[in-house]
């Protein structure tokens, strides 16, 4: 189905399976008037990080034989609508119709290596790389045509796949200009970019074509891929993280379950392959009953998770220290609060899936991993294979919201495919495994302390954060992929003690003379990694709840209090916007409105969120009635894409805030399905309203993670207004006496 690409892949059309065509000088377009071309302005600023590895046009963009453009991006589609956004950017710079631009997402050896799709960085990196590549392509095409025609560039117009001679009927198509060769120019500044006021696609709410496919069951998810003679596999996971296989008794399996093809046992990794999917499921169930595992030391003191965390944590690292918090707070009253957030799970609607095929030499893997190149590194190191013998193709899965289980399913499929070569082996995870083996968003504690000056302004502030790692993503350390830890020669992960992301946004974005941030790392009982917005979710919940507490101490309105501490106009603007959106709202008895503000990572997008909640006087049940967001992500690429992400992010964050908590007993995780890990259902979903402040001249920032953190604090602050109870621990539980 897919040919393994050669490494010299991008030079000629024919490598794409196209035949280059003969050169015909001067096609002609009778009676066509010259199009008025948008003005170009030179761009001299920095180029995105993704261009460090790939800085030639043909890495990002190819001209197809029919003159259409194929854009290559190393990012993957997660439901965030990256495909349409990147196409908009390319079509814009090349003055082409959108439907003449297609996109090819992440595939090793084909698309650029852009690491992981995460951290809301796809637009900054991939879409901007494509913008500069397309603009450079435009210049290169004009110059090549100029040479070919011996007509000055000024006399040429480039639009819709052609270069036309001004005031004449003559033109060359892109393939005619290129004669089978690809655009190979290095992308360097200055780059002539289209003037932003002349955009026809960028900034607009262009509908996503994939949604039209989805409603007709024509969109292909990883779970939907089928190959001739494909077989189905399941993995029998151990009873605990550290369990080892003692014995397996498969003697009765074939009598009980039909269609079983092979049982694979590699150390403590147990897999079973069957003809049909449901046969594989039954075989897994059977084997689960007939395997014995070592019991390991129980998770200690699970009831008292947070006391335990403080006990086992490392000494803190000082991340930021401005002014002199210690001296300033000797003689003043210090206000203190502690906030906690439990382990949260990704909870994708579609459990992980992968397909692999080993032909005796090359291993092909289809995966919804967020980083196919890093996954390839990890697989190569686990399997001791050369990188160029592993080929990974990204296929969209269900939304994953961070580093979830996709890479682990790909690892399972790879191991099983090697044991069962020459057939496509499909591995589908169960709901139970998806939830109990997830690398969760870690539990966190945030201790805050502050003092006010005589005018009721914040004089000093200290944040102290306890966090496990927020990134255990795959890399060349094979211990980062789950199954590798259970092989005969197990790989142990080396690099977990990593603080970054954990203290993100724990230092307030406000003007505070004496500011200190400390962070402790702890190695907790559960598997963890990146979950949408990383540490910011818990940190902003704490910081913005505390801002309301301080405002109250200072006797000030919470929003005015924030504005007093902000110098940044863009920050002020989102707060004012959300004030405006909620200005006419009146709360009834038992209801409250709360607010929160954030600048993501203190360097990226701005968001202010308002929440309107009710708290039931009888049973303390909290309902979020409506959420508003005002968001500034800089330049907008696809307006509806950002609105959609913001609406969905607020709803997901409301679910985290109101309901979610991974539970476990001393032996196992007990949040194994949607009953034991409930999330918001339709009847509980708040109304949502989003205002986007477009800043075409500011750099683009990602939007995906931005709504999460302020939503939690806005809800908590609204709950306080509604019932007078301050929320310190998530999920919110109001206990009635």
């Amino acid at each position: 189905m897919t040919n393994f690409p050669s490494e010299s892949r991008r030079r000629f059309f024919k490598d794409l399976g196209y035949v280059s065509i003969g050169f015909t000088l001067f096609s002609s377009c009778l009676g066509e008037e010259d199009q008025i071309m948008a003005e170009r302005v030179p761009y001299n600023d920095t180029l995105p990080g993704s261009m460090r590895r790939e800085n030639h046009v043909n890495a990002w963009l190819q001209v197809l034989e029919d003159g259409n453009i194929r854009v290559l991006s190393g990012k993957v589609e997660l439901g965030q609508g990256i495909r349409i956004a990147i196409r908009q950017v390319a079509a814009e710079e090349l003055d082409m119709d959108l439907d003449k631009v297609e996109i090819h997402l992440a595939e090793t050896g084909v698309t650029p290596n852009e690491g992981y799709t995460g951290a809301s960085a796809s637009i900054q990196n991939s879409a901007m790389s494509v913008r500069y590549a397309a603009a450079t392509a435009r210049m290169e095409l004009l110059e090549l045509a100029s040479k070919k025609l011996d007509i000055k560039v000024d006399e040429l117009l480039l639009y819709n796949g052609r270069v036309k001679v001004r005031g004449s009927n003559k033109y060359l198509t892109f393939p005619e200009i290129l004669e089978g060769v690809q655009l190979e120019r290095e992308i360097t500044t200055p780059i002539q970019l289209k003037k932003k006021t002349e955009y026809r696609y960028v900034g607009k709410a262009i509908p996503r074509p994939d949604i039209e496919k989805m409603v007709q069951a024509e969109a292909t998810y990883i779970q939907d891929l089928r190959f001739p003679d494909m077989v189905h596999a399941r993995v029998v996971r151990p009873t605990g993280y550290e369990s080892k296989l003692v014995q397996i008794n498969a003697s009765g399996l074939k009598a009980e379950v039909s269609g079983v093809l092979k049982i694979v046992v590699l150390g403590s990794f147990v897999g079973v392959i069957a003809q049909r999917e449901y046969q594989a499921i039954k075989a897994e169930k059977h084997l689960k009953k007939h395997t014995q595992w070592t019991t390991v030391a129980p998770f200690p003191e699970t009831e008292n998770l947070f006391t335990r965390i403080k006990k086992i944590a490392n000494k803190p690292e000082t991340i930021r220290n401005e002014g002199d918090f210690e001296t300033e707070t000797i003689h003043t009253q210090i206000i203190k609060s502690t906030y906690t957030k439990p382990y949260l799970m990704h909870g994708s609607m579609g459990p992980a899936c992968a397909i692999a095929m080993f032909n005796g030499e090359v291993l092909q893997v289809w995966s919804h991993s967020q980083g196919i190149y890093p996954l390839r590194d990890a697989l190569a190191s686990m399997l001791e294979m050369d990188l160029d013998k592993i080929h990974i193709i990204s296929v969209p899965g269900a939304g994953c919201y961070g580093h979830s289980t996709a890479d682990d399913a790909a690892t399972d499929a790879a191991l099983l495919a090697i044991e069962y070569p020459k057939r496509h082996v499909r591995v589908q995870w169960s709901r139970h495994d998806e939830q109990s083996w997830d690398p969760y968003g870690p539990a966190m504690i945030i201790d805050l302390a502050a003092s006010l000056d005589r005018n009721g302004r914040i004089n000093s502030w200290k944040s102290e954060v306890w966090t496990d790692s927020h990134s255990t993503r795959p890399n060349s350390d094979a211990g980062t992929i789950l199954a590798a830890r259970y092989l005969e020669k197990p790989f142990q992960m080396k690099s977990r003690g990593f603080l970054a992301g954990g203290h993100r946004n724990a230092d307030p974005y406000y003007r505070i003379p004496h500011l200190m941030l400390k962070a402790h790392y702890y190695d907790g009982p559960l598997r963890v990694s990146s979950l949408r917005s990383l540490g910011s979710f818990a940190n902003i919940f704490a910081v913005e709840s505390f801002m309301d507490e301080l405002a109250e101490k200072a006797g000030k309105d919470p929003l005015e209090f924030r504005l007093e501490h902000l110098d940044d106009d863009r920050g002020i603007a989102v707060i004012k916007k959300v004030m405006e959106l909620t200005a006419s709202l009146k709360s009834k008895d038992g209801e409250g409105i709360g607010f929160a503000f954030m600048r993501y990572k203190n360097t990226d997008a701005y968001a202010a969120v308002a929440a309107h909640v009710s708290v039931d006087k009888e049973n303390g049940k909290v309902r979020v009635l409506k959420l508003w967001a005002a968001v500034d992500v800089g330049e907008v690429i696809n307006l509806d894409g950002i609105i959609n992400q913001t609406e969905g992010g607020m709803i997901q964050a409301a679910s985290w805030t109101l309901k979610e908590q991974v539970t476990f007993n001393p032996h196992e995780v007990t949040s194994t399905d949607w009953i034991t890990y409930p999330i918001l259902r339709h009847s509980e979903i708040p109304e949502v309203e989003v205002a986007i402040i477009d800043r075409p001249n500011e750099p683009v920032s990602g939007a995906g993670e931005v709504p999460m953190p302020p939503t939690s604090a806005a809800i908590a602050n609204a709950v306080y207004r509604a019932c007078g109870t301050r929320v310190y621990d998530l999920p919110i539980r109001i206990h009635k006496k």
Partner: protein, 155 residues
Amino acid sequence: MPNYNLNINNIQKSVDTDTDTPLLYVLRDYLELNGPKFGCGLAQCGSCMVLINGRATTTCMLPVSSIGQSKITTLEGLTGTTGKLHAVQEAFVKEQAAQCGYCLNGMVMAAVGLLNKNPSPNELEIKKALELNLCRCGAHSRIVRAVKIAANSFK
């Protein structure tokens, strides 16, 4: 292995499979239909819904042996033979009511099932009809809006 004759999207299909195979696996694995999705296998999320005699039903725990000659409609069967989208499909596109879209099959099926019974539901009735259907991306408000629009287009 027993043989089952099923009426799927108005076509008779013959499948040889074990009696306990849930309908979801018959549809996906044997008949290669991609509409119904696997989400939980526990009848908790709605991803796997189809219409059985016009009623939205989860299929992940429903043994094939219990189907008989019931009429099964999957997402694929909603689109008319002329390619015309069902009003609910159309409304989902119009409202861009999806992010990853994995839950969409179930949402659309539950909505069509509702409109079959009650062509002009109010918001509460819509939410109630979609209560089983989970969406992790938070596309709910667009989804409910789409169902309202579809209902209005029936009037």
